[in-house]
């Protein structure tokens, strides 16, 4: 594995399988009464969150704590960052604190790449702008594998605002690495112009894709996109691209429904679909901790690779 996990493209097939296999073992630990491991004792993990994301931060925090790492939560709000301190100065502060890993969530695409130039520790991307969210993709793949077995040849459909989705980008990369066949479904306005060069299929017709899908992953669609003319109305979006009961009926019996959360019930996904047995939405949350433990262990559990600072 590389020293950082910034993009799902950083992971070879072997790396990805190693993370998922490790997560499989670690999942057992969350079932026992003592859920803590001593593995990362004395190591410091900093959660550097420039955007509010309680669920992702808590997930990383639980993962680090179960491995006995010291966790420092650094939220941009109410800190020197909101007073105009630059990312670089923040990085130097963390470096002085001796962070072994920095988990960063940032509104700007590429912020983790920049951070990696300025800290010695491992950088884990917990979501950067509209770029990537690799641990979300890993936990999604982990969830799929638990339900469906190996992902080779599995047909996975990702529906919604691909253009602005870091979850979609990471999932397309990771799932194709793992041998799955990904199809993106969205209105053309919510697909990048260059989507044809991605390792996946593209469709505008959800109903046509559903019958052959093993997994349907619904992406959150922000209502604000409507104002920028990406789609006319919520109602029309929901009618063409929302997952309701009738559409779910087109899926085969084993197919599952996923959503990275937070959901807009009634917009991209009907409440009864989100709560149905096909839905993995609650599992995804639990699997998030396990998968992130695997990532932190594999990045920090071995010899210090000692990165260079530019």
């Amino acid at each position: 594995m590389k020293r950082h996990l910034i993009s799902a493209a950083d992971l070879s097939r072997d790396d990805a399988l190693l993370i998922l296999d490790t997560a499989d073992e670690l999942a057992k630990i969350s079932e026992r009464s003592i859920k803590k491991l001593p593995t990362l004792r004395g190591r410091t993990v900093v959660n550097l969150f420039f955007e509010d994301s309680t669920r992702t931060r808590i997930s990383f925090e639980a993962a680090a704590k179960r491995l006995s790492a010291d966790v420092i939560n650094f939220s941009a709000k109410g800190s020197s960052v909101s007073k105009g301190e630059s990312l670089k100065d923040t990085a130097l502060t963390l470096e002085a604190m001796g962070a072994d890993a920095v988990v960063i969530r940032h509104g700007a695409s590429g912020a983790p790449h920049r951070l990696a130039n300025w800290v010695r520790g491992s950088v884990v991307n917990a979501g950067d702008g509209t770029h990537e969210h690799p641990t979300q993709a890993l936990l999604d793949a982990f969830t799929m594998r638990r339900r469906l077995g190996p992902l080779d040849g599995r047909k996975i459909t990702i529906v919604g605002d691909v253009l602005h989705s870091r979850v979609a980008r990471s999932n397309v990369l990771l799932l194709s690495t793992l041998g799955a066949e990904v199809t993106l479904v969205a209105p053309p306005t919510l697909l990048p112009v260059s989507v044809g060069s991605w390792p996946c299929e593209v469709s505008y017709d959800l109903d046509a894709v559903l019958p052959k899908s093993d997994v349907v992953m619904m992406l959150r669609v922000q209502r604000e996109r409507m104002n920028a003319a990406f789609f006319p109305t919520e109602r029309e979006y929901s009618r063409r691209y929302g997952l309701d009961r009738e559409r779910v009926a087109r899926l085969h019996d084993e197919a599952i429904v996923m959503h990275p959360g937070p959901m807009n019930r009634g917009m991209e996904i009907a409440a009864e679909v989100a709560d149905s047995p096909r839905s993995t939405i609650v599992e995804q949350v639990a699997n998030g901790v396990t998968t992130r433990m695997a990532v932190l262990y594999l990045l920090l559990g071995g010899a210090d690779l000692g990165g260079e600072i530019q």
Partner: protein
């Protein structure tokens, strides 16, 4: 005044000759000339002093990034004898007072002539015309008007500006960028922006404005200059406008002749390094090829640096927060050698046309951009194309260090620059 003899220079890359300079003009060109001072130019190419149509000197307002003094030093070291100082200063160069101030600062610095560019609209706001006539009549004798950094996107305002400057033989230099199509845009829209999750800057946002402006210029019978062409489509539109006989000229920057958008994803200085963030954005290999071909065939008239200094804190940030722009005065000739001369697309006479004669013509800069011949003002650059060295901005005269070429080897070196017979650079250092 002492006479200077430049011995053995290859004028425009031709056969070695001696050049005698007396009283600020070329007094004699031939063999075995002698003078009070002798400069050995064996093996060096003699080019007419370079003229830049597009330089950001940042003064007044951002003296932390560049001043007229430091920017014109950089210009002289890059072989330039005249630069056009862009109007997007603080305060904006939209009055006779500001342009005269910049012009005077250039005179006092003395490293090269500074021709201020006047803003088209007050405060670059795109709402009301600035006092273009007053700037034209001022001591700075402004002939080039531009809101560069912003596009004059209002079609009516653009039409009026094009018409109005005819009265004093001015030209509007348009920064072609349709603002709605480029809201929050971060880099060229294409495969790389899609992968990187950076808001795309579509080629059409540039091309649509250029097409509109060409049609407007034809309609009102005025001159139009298009700044920093960056796309193959823009080239096609300008080629079409010229084929109609319309008075349209265009420039390209050195960096758009060499660099591509994939550097944002993967480069020797990492991913998402804002050193590559520039307006207009770096485009694709196909665009670079089209721009080179257009510069070679004259569709693009000239090379302009768009030298855009920024302090380090405006570049050592996440991509979206970084300032747009690159410095370029001290590397322009080297980049043109690599992109155009070493590829066989231009000879040195072609370089002289694109980097001196044409920009001087477009900017109506008297006494610059003249051939090296007896009687002409002695503005000349001696250039050694045979050397090749790694770019190290540490030694640059520019106050800023935001060069995209750091660590890359580039050919050539400016050995000497003469402004009206007076050396501003000798042996690669300020004289």
């Amino acid at each position: 005044m002492k006479t200077i003899v430049i011995k053995g220079a290859r004028i425009l890359g031709g056969e070695p000759a001696d050049i005698l300079i007396r009283d600020g003009v070329f007094a004699e060109i031939g063999q075995d000339l002698s003078g009070d001072e002798t400069i050995d130019a064996t093996g060096l190419v003699a080019l007419p002093g370079l003229v830049d149509l597009h330089t950001h000197l940042r003064e007044p307002g951002r003296e932390d990034a560049e001043t007229v003094e430091t920017g014109t030093r950089a210009a002289a070291l890059g072989g330039y004898t005249a630069v056009h100082a862009m109007a997007n200063t603080d305060p904006v160069a939209d009055t006779a007072g500001v342009v005269e101030q910049v012009w005077r600062l250039g005179q006092e610095a003395g490293h090269c002539d500074v021709r201020p560019v006047g803003a088209v609209t007050v405060g670059l706001d795109g709402e009301r015309l600035a006092e273009l006539g007053a700037m034209a009549d001022s001591a700075a004798r402004v002939r080039v008007f531009s809101d560069d950094g912003k596009c004059v996107s209002d079609a009516v305002l653009m039409r009026r500006a094009l018409e109005y400057v005819k009265a004093f033989d001015g030209v509007v230099a348009q920064h072609a960028q349709e603002p709605r199509l480029t809201k929050d845009a971060q880099m060229n829209e294409g495969a790389v922006s899609g992968r990187l999750g950076l808001n795309g800057w579509p080629a059409v946002a540039e091309e649509a404005i250029i097409a509109r402006d060409c049609l407007l210029a034809a309609h009102v019978g005025s001159r139009l200059h298009v700044c920093h062409l960056s796309t193959a489509g823009s080239v096609e539109i300008v080629r079409w406008a010229k084929s109609k006989g319309w008075d349209v000229t265009a420039e390209v920057t050195p960096h758009h002749l060499l660099l591509t958008d994939d550097l944002v994803e993967d480069s020797p200085v990492g991913s998402y390094n804002p050193i590559y963030k520039v307006n207009p954005p770096l485009r694709t290999r196909a665009d670079v090829e089209a721009l080179r071909a257009a510069l070679a065939d004259g569709t693009i008239d000239c090379v302009a640096t768009d030298h855009a200094p920024h302090p380090v804190e405006d570049k050592e940030t996440e991509w979206a927060a970084a300032a747009m722009g690159m410095i370029g005065l001290e590397t322009a000739l080297s980049v043109v050698q690599e992109a155009m001369v070493e590829t066989g697309l231009l000879d040195w006479a072609g370089v002289a046309e694109r980097m001196s004669f044409a920009p001087a013509r477009i900017g109506r800069v008297a006494d610059h951009g003249r051939p090296i011949e007896v009687g002409a003002p002695a503005n000349v650059t001696l250039y050694d194309p045979a050397v090749r060295a790694e770019v190290d901005p540490a030694g640059y005269a520019s106050k800023s260090r935001n060069t995209p070429y750091q660590g890359r080897a580039l050919p050539g070196r400016v050995v000497a620059t003469f402004l009206r017979g007076r050396p501003t650079v000798l042996d690669g250092k300020l004289a």
